[in-house]
């Protein structure tokens, strides 16, 4: 279990970086509002960042461990299917997580 001192400095680090990323661009980026490269990155970054993060959380996925692979595949299908259909973030995340938790805690435990 991590030490409280380590946790506090880790929180401080994350806060400092996050706050800087939110606050500093107001001084630097606003003059660039009409810059075409800024606009291009602004529209193109989000989808790529989310895709990379989603795949990052699945980095330990391997078909050789079916006890984890099947719940993952089923829960992803439910999440994506439900989201394409209903477009409700909370519903999709809750349902996908429920499917995964139920499968991983029972049938594939």
């Amino acid at each position: 279990m991590p030490e409280p001192g380590y946790l506090i400095t880790a929180v401080g680090t994350a806060v400092a970086v996050t706050w800087a990323l939110r606050a500093l661009p107001f001084a630097m980026l606003v003059p660039l509002r009409s810059n075409p490269l800024t606009g291009y990155l602004k529209t193109s970054m989000p989808v790529g960042v989310m895709v990379v993060l989603a795949l990052y959380t699945l980095r330990d996925f391997t078909p050789r461990v079916p006890d984890r692979a099947w719940p993952t595949a089923a829960a992803l299908a439910v999440t994506v299917g439900l989201h394409v259909w209903r477009r409700n973030v909370t519903l999709s995340v809750a349902a996908g997580t429920a499917v995964y938790a139920v499968l991983a805690s029972t049938a594939f435990a």
Partner: protein
């Protein structure tokens, strides 16, 4: 709650009925994202206590870091006691998108130094989402700060509630961390809907897979750097093509 707003001088008065009070407006503005932030906070709180930390760490993480998607990753990092440099790099890469929120967030409306400091501190994805419209550019300072405060409260309150409830959820229930995967998947779908650019999606998948195979320990930075480089190259190529067709 029906009292007229205190500082109505700053913006054009409504034509007929007095506008609803700033708290009421802020409550309405934040309601839809609150429906998402609160349960997500609960999921985070449950994860915190299930990972063996005391419940109040959920309150500390959620109220101070206050960046939902980073917090889920953060929890995994600190449990592995990774070096602080890796915490910083992850925070930078995951939250880099916030840089672009400065382009549309109406910070110019916020009055006062402390208020502006809080406003940038609490500029979360949800806040960006509800202020990324034309009307928000003329919201009063109070209305924006209140809606930020409400969303902050939904998230931190949800995390605290989840952490307190988490001790009731039996430990053999595993797999709640799939919420992180589901969240990013759903956000990716939404981002793609907002900007249907298939090459960008494919580029991101390829970069992630290369990062996973080439440097599994450094998958995140490798994938992000390649993705950003890919975007810049694509932009440069498109511009050159445009130039040559213009000439």
């Amino acid at each position: 709650m029906s009292a007229p707003p205190v500082e109505s001088a700053g913006y054009p008065p409504a034509a007929q009925a007095p506008p609803p009070s700033a708290p009421l407006q802020a409550l309405r503005d934040s309601g839809a994202v609150g429906l998402g932030a609160f349960p997500m906070g609960i999921a985070f709180g449950v994860l915190v206590v299930h990972s063996g930390l005391r419940w109040w760490w959920a309150s500390v993480f959620s109220s101070l870091i206050y960046a939902g998607s980073l917090e889920f990753l953060f929890l995994g990092l600190v449990l592995a006691t990774v070096p602080l440099a890796q915490v910083a790099l992850t925070a930078f890469l995951v939250n880099f998108r916030h840089v672009f929120y400065a382009l549309s967030f109406p910070l110019h409306q916020i009055k006062g130094r402390a208020a502006r400091a809080y406003s940038t501190f609490a500029l979360s994805d949800e806040v960006y989402a509800v202020t990324a419209n034309e009307a928000a550019q003329s919201y009063s300072s109070r209305r924006i700060l209140l809606l930020q405060g409400f969303i902050h409260l939904y998230w931190a309150g949800g995390a605290t509630a989840g952490a307190l409830l988490g001790s009731i959820v039996p430990a053999r229930v595993t797999g709640l961390d799939f919420a992180v995967t589901a969240l990013f998947t759903v956000l990716a779908i939404d981002a793609f809907r907002a900007h249907r650019d298939l090459p960008v999606l494919v580029l991101a998948v390829i970069c992630a897979l290369i990062g996973r195979v080439a440097l599994p320990g450094e998958m995140l930075p490798v994938a992000f750097l390649m993705f950003t480089a890919g975007l810049l190259i694509r932009y440069a190529l498109a511009r050159r093509r445009r130039r040559s067709t213009d000439a």
